[in-house]
C-alpha cells in the first residue's frame, strides 16, 4: 500500500504525464561528519531548482527534489538511493557529497540504469570503478594541487623553500590529491615529514606537533573539512611555528564557515585548491552568487564552493534533459558521453569516457585579509600575487 501511494510512475526510462512534476532523488549528509558540506549542497541544489522552476521548470515539468539524509554513512547512502528509485520512483538522481559516498551511490543507481551527475565525487576510485553512468561536473581532484606544485617548484632558488611536510587523511578524496602533489614536487623540496592518518581520527594534536617539530617550510595537508585544518592551525600557533606556505585540500574553501572557525587573522595566507570561487567573473556564477547573497546574506568571498558544485550538477542535468527531450536515463548517459561541451557556474563541462570533466582549470585560492583570491596559475589573468611567505598567526 505504501509503495502504491508513494509511486509517481516514473522510472529510468523517464515517461512523465503532462504537467506532472519531475522528481529528482538525492542523498545528502545532513548530519554526521560531512554535514557542513551536505547542508551547503542542499542549499545549492535547492537554489538551482528554485531558479529553474521560476523559469518554467524542466521541459515544462516543475522540479521536485526528494532529499534523504544519509548521516554521512556509506551504507545509508546506498539504502537511500535504492529507496529513491524503487519506492519514490524518481526520474533522475543527483550525487551525494564526497568521493567516499559517491562511489557506492553511483554503483547502486547504475544497477537501475540511472545516470548519476555529481559534483563532489572527484576521487580516482570513482572513475576507476568501470561505471559508465557517473559524471562529475567538477575537475577531478588529482589535478587540484598541480598549479600550487608548479608555482612552488618554479620559484627562483633564492626564494624557493627547501623543506616540505605532507600529512593527509586516508580519505579517497584527499590522499590522491596529496600523492599527486608529491609526485609533481618530487625532490625539488626535501620531504621532512610524510604521514597518512586515519579518516576517523579526531585528535590531530600529535600529528600537528610532529609537523611543527619538523620545521617544514611548506605544509601540504590532506583535509576533508574545516575542523581538521583548524586543529592543525591551532597546534602550529601553539608551537610558535608558521610555515612559509600552507595549503589544505579542503576547509579554507568553506568561506564564512572557515573564517568563523579559525578567525580572520589566522586565515591570512592559507591556501586551498578548487575550480571555483565566489569572486568568479563567469556571468552564470555572478548571477548565482547574487541570488545566494539575496537569500542567505554574506559576501561573495563567503559563498561555499559546494553551492556552485551542486548548482552545476543541476545545470548539466538540465542541459542533458533538454537536449535529449525527456527523462530517459539511457539517452541522458549517451548524451553526456557524446563529448558535447556544456556550461555551468563553474565553467565549461565536457566529459571523457570515464565521466571526468577535464574542461575546467584547477586554481589555487588564498585568503588575503578578508578576501579570498585566486593566486594560481600565476599566468591566469584573474590571479593576484601569492602572499608569500605566509604571515604569522593571529
Amino acid at each position: 500500500m505504501l509503495m502504491m501511494t508513494t509511486t509517481s510512475g516514473a522510472s529510468s526510462s523517464g515517461s512523465l504525464a503532462k504537467g506532472a512534476p519531475v522528481s529528482i532523488g538525492i542523498s545528502l549528509s545532513l548530519s554526521g561528519d560531512f554535514s557542513a558540506d551536505g547542508l551547503a549542497y542542499q542549499q545549492g541544489y535547492k537554489l538551482w531548482a528554485a531558479d529553474l522552476n521560476k523559469a518554467g521548470g524542466l521541459l515544462g515539468h516543475k522540479v521536485n527534489l526528494i532529499i534523504k539524509s544519509d548521516a554521512s554513512s556509506a551504507t545509508q547512502v546506498v539504502t537511500n538511493y535504492k529507496t529513491l528509485i524503487s519506492v519514490n520512483h524518481v526520474s533522475l538522481t543527483f550525487g551525494p557529497f564526497s568521493t567516499l559516498l559517491t562511489l557506492p551511490s553511483a554503483q547502486t543507481v547504475n544497477r537501475y540504469g540511472y545516470a548519476m551527475v555529481e559534483g563532489a565525487g572527484g576521487g580516482p576510485s570513482v572513475f576507476s570503478a568501470g561505471l559508465s553512468n557517473v559524471f562529475d561536473v567538477t575537475l577531478p581532484v588529482s589535478y587540484d594541487l598541480a598549479p600550487f606544485a608548479h608555482w612552488l617548484t618554479s620559484l627562483p632558488n633564492s626564494k624557493r623553500p627547501t623543506t616540505i611536510a605532507y600529512a593527509t587523511s586516508n580519505d579517497p578524496f584527499t590522499q590522491p590529491v596529496v600523492q599527486e602533489a608529491q609526485k609533481l614536487i618530487g625532490k625539488k623540496l626535501k620531504t621532512v615529514y610524510n604521514n597518512v592518518f586515519p579518516a576517523e581520527l579526531t585528535d590531530f594534536t600529535s600529528i600537528a606537533d610532529a609537523v611543527a617539530a619538523s620545521h617544514a617550510q611548506v605544509v601540504v595537508l590532506g583535509s576533508v573539512d574545516v575542523p581538521t585544518v583548524s586543529a592543525f592551525m591551532q597546534a602550529f600557533e601553539q608551537a610558535h611555528y608558521t610555515p612559509k606556505a600552507f595549503v589544505a585540500t579542503a576547509g579554507p574553501d568553506q568561506g564564512k564557515s572557515f573564517i568563523t572557525a579559525v578567525g580572520a587573522g589566522n586565515a591570512n595566507g592559507m591556501m586551498v585548491p578548487n575550480s571555483w570561487y565566489g569572486g568568479s567573473t563567469n556571468p552564470q556564477s555572478v548571477k548565482m552568487v547574487a541570488e545566494y547573497i539575496k537569500l542567505y546574506g554574506g559576501t561573495a568571498a563567503g559563498v561555499n564552493a559546494d553551492i556552485a558544485e551542486a548548482y552545476s550538477v543541476g545545470q548539466v542535468m538540465a542541459q542533458a534533459v533538454t537536449a535529449t527531450g525527456g527523462f530517459n536515463n539511457a539517452k541522458i548517459i549517451k548524451y553526456l558521453h557524446s563529448g558535447k561541451t556544456l556550461s555551468s557556474v563553474q565553467g565549461a563541462v565536457k566529459f571523457n569516457s570515464l565521466g571526468e570533466n577535464l574542461a575546467q582549470t584547477a586554481y589555487t585560492f588564498q585568503w588575503q585579509g578578508s578576501k579570498f583570491v585566486e593566486v594560481n596559475p600565476v599566468t591566469d589573468k584573474g590571479a593576484v600575487k601569492v602572499l608569500f611567505p605566509k604571515p604569522a598567526w593571529g
Binding site: 557542513a36 604521514n195 586515519p198 581520527l201 610532529a210 575542523p227 591551532q234 564557515s257 568563523t260 572557525a261
Partner: protein, 272 residues
C-alpha cells in the same frame, strides 16, 4: 565528560548515549555567551554548568526516571539516543552545521618550558578538570549526600531499605553528570572546531573510556582517559598515526579479556 557518563551509569544503570551531544550543547552555550555577550569562556561556566544541571534534571524527570523493570538499561540507550537526535537537530537549526570554534586570548597561545611549548588552554583546562574532580571527590567522600550516592552505587535496594531516597539521588546524579559536560564542552570547543555532528566522535570515545575504566568507576574513567590520549599520541608520533587508534583498541581488548569488568569495575555489583 567521561566522569559524568560513568557516574550516571554507576548510580542509575543508565547508559547515556546523549552525553556526546550534551558536551556539544555545553560548547555551544559557551560559544553563544562568548560571541553574543562577550563573556569569557571560563567565567561563562558559572552560567553553563547550572544551566546544564537543570537540563539534566528535566531530562531525568521527564524521560529516564520513568524507565522501570529489567529492560531499563537497554531502554535507556534508545531513549537517550532519541534525546541526542532531537538536540542535534535543534543545534543544527539554531547554529547551522558550519563548524565553529571558541576563541579567547589563551586558546591559541602557549608558553615555553625547557624548549617545549605548553598551550595555556591545556593548562587551564587541566586545572579546571582537577578542581571539578576534586569537588566531585569531596562531594562523594566527605558529604552525607555523597554517602547516599555511594550507597546507591553499591546496591540500590539496600540503600532504599536504609532510608535513602534513591530516586532523588538518581535525579541529582544525572543532573551532575550532565552539568560537567558544560566544562568538558567548553574545553572541547576551545581545542576543536565543532558542530552538532561532532557528538558522534565524542560519544564513541567516551563509551570506550568508561568501559576500559570500569563502568561506574570515576577513578577508572580518569585513568582510562589519560591512557587513551597518551597511548594514541605516543603511537601516532613514534610509530604512525594509522596505528594510534588501533593500538588503543588492542589494549582495550587485552584488558577486557583479562578483566571483563574493566580496570576498576566491580563485577559483583553489576551482576547483582
Amino acid at each position: 565528560m567521561a566522569t559524568g557518563l560513568t557516574l550516571i551509569f554507576g548510580v542509575m544503570d543508565i547508559i547515556n548515549v546523549a552525553q556526546g551531544i550534551l558536551v556539544i550543547l555545553g560548547a555551544y552555550l559557551s560559544y553563544a555567551l562568548s560571541v553574543h555577550f562577550g563573556i569569557d569562556l571560563f567565567a561563562g561556566l558559572a552560567i553553563t554548568i547550572p544551566t546544564l544541571f537543570v537540563v539534566g534534571i528535566v531530562v531525568e524527570r521527564l524521560f529516564l526516571g520513568r524507565l522501570k523493570g529489567p529492560e531499563r538499561t537497554a531502554m535507556s540507550i534508545l531513549v537517550t539516543y532519541a534525546i541526542s537526535l532531537v538536540i542535534e537537530g535543534a543545534l543544527n537549526m539554531i547554529f547551522t552545521a558550519n563548524p565553529v570554534e571558541l576563541h579567547a586570548w589563551y586558546v591559541n597561545k602557549s608558553f615555553e618550558i625547557f624548549g617545549t611549548y605548553i598551550a595555556y588552554i591545556d593548562v587551564f583546562g587541566f586545572i579546571m578538570a582537577a578542581i571539578l574532580l576534586g569537588g566531585l571527590y569531596v562531594m562523594l567522600y566527605r558529604t552525607r549526600f555523597g554517602a547516599s550516592i555511594r550507597a546507591s552505587l553499591a546496591d540500590q535496594t539496600a540503600a532504599a531499605l536504609i532510608g535513602i531516597d534513591v530516586r532523588r539521588v538518581s535525579t541529582i546524579c544525572f543532573g551532575i553528570g550532565v552539568a560537567v559536560t558544560a566544562a568538558g564542552g567548553m574545553v572541547y570547543g576551545a581545542t576543536n572546531a565543532f558542530n552538532a555532528s561532532s557528538s558522534y566522535d565524542l560519544i564513541s570515545r567516551l563509551l570506550v573510556i568508561i568501559v576500559l575504566g570500569g563502568m561506574g568507576s570515576l577513578g577508572g574513567a580518569l585513568l582510562a582517559g589519560i591512557l587513551m590520549v597518551t597511548l594514541e599520541d605516543v603511537v601516532g608520533v613514534v610509530w604512525s598515526p594509522v596505528w594510534s587508534q588501533i593500538t588503543f583498541f588492542l589494549v582495550l581488548v587485552l584488558v577486557l579479556s583479562l578483566r571483563p569488568q574493566g580496570l576498576f569495575g566491580k563485577q559483583s555489583a553489576r551482576v547483582a
